[in-house]
Amino acid sequence: MASVTNTDSGDRGTASRFEHLDRFHGGLVLPGLHEMSTSLPISEAGIPPLLIIPLLQHIGETAECLVKAGEHVHKGQIIAAPKGRVSVPVHASSSGTVVAVEERPFPHPSGLSFPSVIIETDGRDEWDERRYTLPDYRQLSRVRLLDHIRAAGIVGLGGAGFPTQVKLSRDSDDRIELLVINGVECEPYISCDNMLLRERTREVIEGVRILQHILQPRDCVIAVEADMREAEAALRAAADSSINVISVPERYPSGGERQLIKLLTGREVPSQGFPSDMGIICQNVGTSAAVYRAIVRSHPLVSRIVTVTGGGVKQPRNLEVLIGTPFSYAVEASGGYKDDVDRLLMGGPMMGFAVSTDEVPVIKATNCILAVTREEMPPPEPPLPCIRCGKCTEVCPAELLPQQLYWYARSENLDAAQDYSLFDCIECGCCAYVCPSHIPLVQYYRHAKTEVWNNEKQRQASDIARERHRAHQERLERIKRERAERLARKKRAISGKDGARKDAKQAAIQAALDRVKKKKELEGITRRNVDNLTAEQAEKIREVDSRRQHKPPPGEH
């Protein structure tokens, strides 16, 4: 069950299925500049004295640190455990001693710091002995393979860093129509996927076979850009008939997931949806190689290929870099900076971001370290007002109206911006590139998106607060009500007892009154003929009276 059968694709043969490419709107033909870094083969950057390994290198939840300062770690040892579903573990990239777990500068547009494990390497690069070994993947279940992919810390290496295992998991039993292995390196300068395909073709292809085994897709395509001729030839030589090698024209951003799927299938990934909604899974070629290494060689993701290039680097090239290696070390391994270096980027010139220091580490998503001179990329010119020329609309691959979006983003009219599909913007930068007014459009869109997210968060927070307040009020009400009820009950209970006591009292009073009355009645009996009594008679009366007095009153027996 290793390869995929095409018995049910009776409509068209696999070979012809992807020959006719569709088009996507807009985009740009940019100078490639890839060849700058392809003259030398991939080499290892080496082991830096210090590794800075951030606990969050993927989209999702931060991994939970498992090591403390002073602890010795082996290469490949898990130093942070995944937390939650969308998370992956983090491994030590080399052996050494943990010297600190602290916040360190992180490669991110905002220049923020992030909790990282700092390892002082011992240079021995010793692997963790407890490393797993797997039997032939063909004997393993989907679930086990996915577990291993997660355990190996694999995330999308194309730049987004989304956990691969999550992307490969499926909720429904619907068949995967198409597995796209994306080798379309459309951003200028970058060549790491190209070099990987040229030098490690077998790893990529084997990785694709594992992915095919997991997903059982109806079709599988490896796409490369038209100028990657050597890579294409190598792939064609290595691929079996179940894998279509397709070359797409050089047009930025044809390597974007949505654009590539449109090119290959003519179908559009629904806005706010995912390719998997259409039965399509897209994986980067580097991810495929990483899957191969994890499943077949039992190597977790501890290194990646990074293009170190630009006019500010002495020897632009591709390096296999340990995750956590500082940019400065990788640049040193490429001959160091030229004197006129002016700007340092992670990623390409269109979607990459500038970093303020080269002390940031290479993370799983670092495909390129780009050091450029002022001549290559002069500082931006002061922006002029938008003249609504519409050049941005012409090049927008998401088919938005960037000029209208800009208007609303700038005036912080976030509802209108969302109405103009702000969140369909892929931030490819085509609009800003062609803008004659030099407006940093992408920056405005990013800002607007962040504002919307913040508002959403605030709204959620205030919703929660309101809900809490309501619950609190309700609780207070309930407590009050209950207390009142309890009180009333008690009162009733008390008043019930009181009543009995009162009755007794009243009865006693009544009885006393009755007695008095009786007594009075008795006393009230007029004695007749007692005027001339003898002593004897008087004595008798007294006797009777006293007897009568000592007699208990009626009703008190």
């Binding site: 996507f24 940019l30 220049g111 200028p188 949505r258 449109k262 559009e268 629904p270 806005s271 706010q272 949806g273 400065s328 002016d342 700007r343 340092l344 010139p349 269109m350 979607m351 990459g352 971001f353 500038a354 970093v355 303020s356 220091t357 080269d358 450029v372 290559e376 990329m377 500082p379 931006p380 010119e381 002061p382 002029l384 007002p385 938008c386 003249i387 609504r388 020329c389 519409g390 609309t393 691959p397 998401a398 088919e399 938005l400 109206l401 000029q403 209208q404 103009y420 599909s421 369909d424 931030e427 930068g429 800003a432 590139y433 062609v434 803008c435 004659p436 007014s437 030099h438 992408v442």
Partner: protein, 338 residues
């Protein structure tokens, strides 16, 4: 090592507003050259007065608004407004005509609304319409093609009363072909009779057809250089042409031919240079087609039944008003949305 950070994309941006404006001015050269050749030095003198006024007025207002003066003047937008307005004026006008028109265009129609990028109306056309309404006599006296005074006499005419220069202005000036058609049709003449006069050339008005051809060539170059997009010119010329075809087929004696409409008056200048002012135009691709067609249709309506011989300026201003609404209803379908 520390670095400065900037927002993506980092690639140097090609082109700019100033370069766009320069290209538009370059594209105006063939049509302007034809106009100078056929209508005389007055065309250039108008451009000069308008340009100087525009730069001075723009600088003054920018200073009052405390904005960057040099950078804004260098974007070329004020200069382009001035040139477009000047090209719409009769060659032998007093100096204050281009000055007043440009002042209104720059100060009121452009800067009072917030300057470049914020004006809802095409400034050149706003300035032109103010002149047309305020000084109808000066705005309709055109020189007869090929019959114009020398440079110095033209300058003299711009600054002094015609009587004092000793030049017989009446002998030089004449009504435009479009004006003539309007007047004569009103006198119940047929187009056949009117066309036999010296005012008419091969397809359009005499001389005017060459000026229009010049602007057409410049406009096509702008399209090819991707400074403008095809929708507005195609929409406007298409709308004008369609209207003209319908009425011409209906009665060729009372309605001028489609070719005449396309090659007379400000048709080509309007289609490629005026209606395409992006700031005041519609901005969606479909919207631009509708916007252009609207201008074409309105131009025809005004030319045929309106009170003015040509209608491009009014048509543009009217469609400027409609542009936001058009944009609202012509939003393109977003990738991945139904």
């Amino acid at each position: 090592m520390k670095f400065d950070t900037y927002s993506s994309p980092h690639f140097p941006v090609a082109g700019g507003v100033a370069i766009m404006m320069q290209k538009v001015m370059l594209a105006l050269i063939p049509g302007t050259a034809c106009a100078v050749w056929l209508f005389g030095w007055g065309v250039l003198i108008n451009i000069l007065f308008a340009a100087l006024t525009a730069l001075a007025a723009e600088a003054l207002v920018l200073k009052l608004r405390r904005r960057r003066i040099v950078a804004s003047l260098l974007d070329g937008s004020a200069l382009l407004t001035a040139v477009l307005l000047a090209l719409a004026l009769p060659p032998l006008t007093p100096w204050w005509i281009p000055v007043i028109g440009t002042l209104f265009a720059i100060v009121v129609a452009k800067q009072l609304y917030g300057g470049l990028g914020y004006n809802p109306f095409n400034p050149a056309m706003a300035g032109y319409v103010v002149l047309l309404i305020s000084f109808p006599l000066e705005l309709t006296q055109w020189t007869a093609p090929g019959n114009y005074p020398g440079l110095l006499d033209t300058l003299a005419l711009a600054f002094t009363d015609a009587a004092r220069t000793g030049i017989d202005l009446d002998a030089l000036s004449t009504a435009t072909p479009m004006d003539t058609i309007k007047t004569r049709l009103g006198l119940n003449e047929t187009l056949g009779e009117i066309h036999s006069t010296v005012l008419f050339g091969y397809v359009g008005g005499r001389a005017w057809e060459w000026v229009n051809l010049g602007f057409l060539i410049g406009g096509l170059w702008l399209l090819q250089a991707r400074v403008i997009q095809w929708q507005i010119p195609a929409g406007m010329l298409g709308g004008l042409f369609a209207m003209a075809v319908v009425f011409y087929l209906f009665n060729p004696d009372s309605y001028t031919s489609p070719a005449f409409h396309l090659f007379s008056g400000a048709a080509m200048l309007g289609a490629f240079f005026i209606a395409t002012d992006p700031v005041s135009a519609s901005t969606t691709p479909r919207g631009r087609l509708i916007y252009g067609a609207g201008i074409g249709i309105l131009t025809y309506l005004i030319r045929t039944w309106g009170g003015y011989p040509d209608g491009v300026a009014f048509a543009v201003l009217l469609m400027n008003m409609a542009a936001p609404t058009i944009d609202h209803y012509t939003r393109p379908r977003v990738f991945g949305q139904p």
